[in-house]
């Protein structure tokens, strides 16, 4: 047996994205955000997208390019504090925004990736966060049912990969990437370096290649990946 290769061009990897799709994007701030794949999605042009991402990056960075191109109908997120443009669009009613508690968004995505229907949580009970959510009594406590979340496509960024799609992240670039890798029908990873099969140690792989459909190596990293000068 040998493991099949999933090396693909970016164009090919995202060709199947359609209008109305749900697209998960890895990243928390800059680390782990797939900036090149986001640019490719802008060029691709699919509209009416639901974007699932922890944050909306900053103006003129990452997700903001999709907001500016008008491709985003809905944003499922946790915090837009660093992107005033996103808040403006939300307040103007030009995008619909669904806020989730950060760890609950993580669990909902993970549940989708784990083939579960949802999770029970007491986070936000008795607050605005619980409004409109289904609550049940279970184990002697009131619990909110938080539904699993899946996407048509997940776009990820990893530091290293092999041709089977095994991924390794560095630093705080891990964040939502390993969770989204499990939770989409098609998973595309842009990677800083693509290593020969077998050079990623089997014990140190964060996302097993089994979950990944396409892997594509980046050239020199653009300014968007660099340290932000504030």
């Amino acid at each position: 047996m040998k493991l099949p290769s999933k090396q693909t061009s970016i164009k090919e990897a995202i060709a199947h994205i359609k209008d109305g799709d749900t697209v998960m994007l890895g990243g928390f701030g800059v680390p782990g955000t797939p900036f090149v794949l986001i640019h490719a999605l802008v060029k691709h042009g699919a509209r009416n997208l639901t974007i699932v991402k922890n944050d909306a990056n900053e103006p003129d960075m990452g997700v903001d390019h999709l907001l500016k191109s008008g491709q985003v109908a809905r944003l499922v997120t946790t915090h837009l504090g660093l992107n005033g443009h996103a808040i403006k669009l939300m307040n103007a009613g030009e995008i619909e925004v669904e806020f989730n508690a950060q760890g609950i968004l993580a669990e909902r995505i993970r549940a989708g990736g784990a083939g579960l229907g949802g999770v029970l949580s007491d986070i936000g009970i008795g607050t605005e966060l619980a409004e409109g959510k289904k609550e049940i009594e279970f184990g002697g406590k009131t619990q909110i049912i938080e539904p699993a979340l899946r996407a048509d496509v997940a776009l990820l960024h990893a530091a290293q990969a092999d041709s089977f799609g095994n991924l390794a992240y560095v630093g705080t670039a891990q964040n939502f990437n390993p969770l989204m890798a499990m939770a989409a029908d098609r998973v595309v990873a842009e990677v800083e370096s693509l290593l020969p099969l077998g050079e990623l140690a089997a014990n140190d792989i964060h996302t097993p290649g089994v979950f990944v459909d396409h892997v594509t190596e980046l050239g020199e990293l653009s300014e968007e990946y660099a340290v932000v000068q504030r």
């Binding site: 047996m1 040998k2 099949p4 989708g112 784990a114 499990m182 020969p196 089997a202 290649g209």
Partner: protein, 210 residues
């Protein structure tokens, strides 16, 4: 039968081979065949089985056999391992059976009063793999049919089985029950019908044999 079952494995698939007959399928896959074998105790990319002398004490499959890795193998925990199974990333599983019903119900984990070691990962494999194939002897040790109108033993998963490989035949499960699709070399139709505990739909055309 094992060799024939091995031909079900398509290039690029992620496959879990259950304990018993299915595990032997691996010996019939070419060395350069592009496939990822999964074992539920936390490995994707199983390599050849090893003897105790060659074995790594930390490297077993779900049946307890010592296995090896291949370039690109990955280890993970049990939650990730079954996330893969339940979320639809497992293209194919081959399982053993006590009984298979004409509607695809599978019973393979418990014989009340006789055999109840627990279900392990079998329920999730049977219920969630994209394609479930059964490898089994056509009848049990007493000669009773394992293919039946309905299962009498506790069910592992309902309506999950698509194809059955036995020592006598290859049988598909359609909306209307068991369909004979191939016969073992030298085995006649009457013998297969005799050994099957439910109606068998036989095409008018000549059947291939394996």
């Amino acid at each position: 039968m094992i060799a024939r079952a091995a031909r079900e494995v398509q290039p690029g698939m992620v496959v879990n081979l259950g304990i018993g007959l299915p595990t032997k399928v691996v010996n019939h896959l070419p060395a350069d065949f592009p496939v990822c074998l999964h074992t539920e105790n936390g490995l994707a990319g199983i390599g050849p089985t090893l003897s105790p002398e060659q074995a790594d004490r930390n490297l077993i499959d779900a049946g307890g056999a010592y296995v090896s890795t291949i370039p690109g193998s990955a280890f993970f925990d049990s939650a990730t391992s079954f996330s893969l199974v339940r979320s639809g990333r497992l293209d194919l599983t081959m399982l053993g059976a006590f009984e298979v019903a004409a509607n695809g119900d599978l019973a393979n984990w418990k014989i009340p009063g006789k055999f109840s070691p627990g279900m392990g990962g079998g329920i999730e494999l049977a219920q969630k793999a994209r394609r479930v194939i059964v490898l089994t002897t056509h009848t049990d040790r007493a000669g009773n049919p394992k293919l039946k109108d309905a299962c009498t033993l506790p069910i592992t998963a309902r309506g999950c089985v698509r194809r059955i490989f036995t020592d006598l035949a290859v049988i598909d499960i359609g909306a209307d029950g068991f369909h004979l699709v191939e016969t073992a070399e030298g085995v006649g139709l009457a013998e297969i019908k005799e050994a099957t505990g439910a109606p068998l739909i036989v095409p008018a055309t000549k059947l291939p044999s394996f």
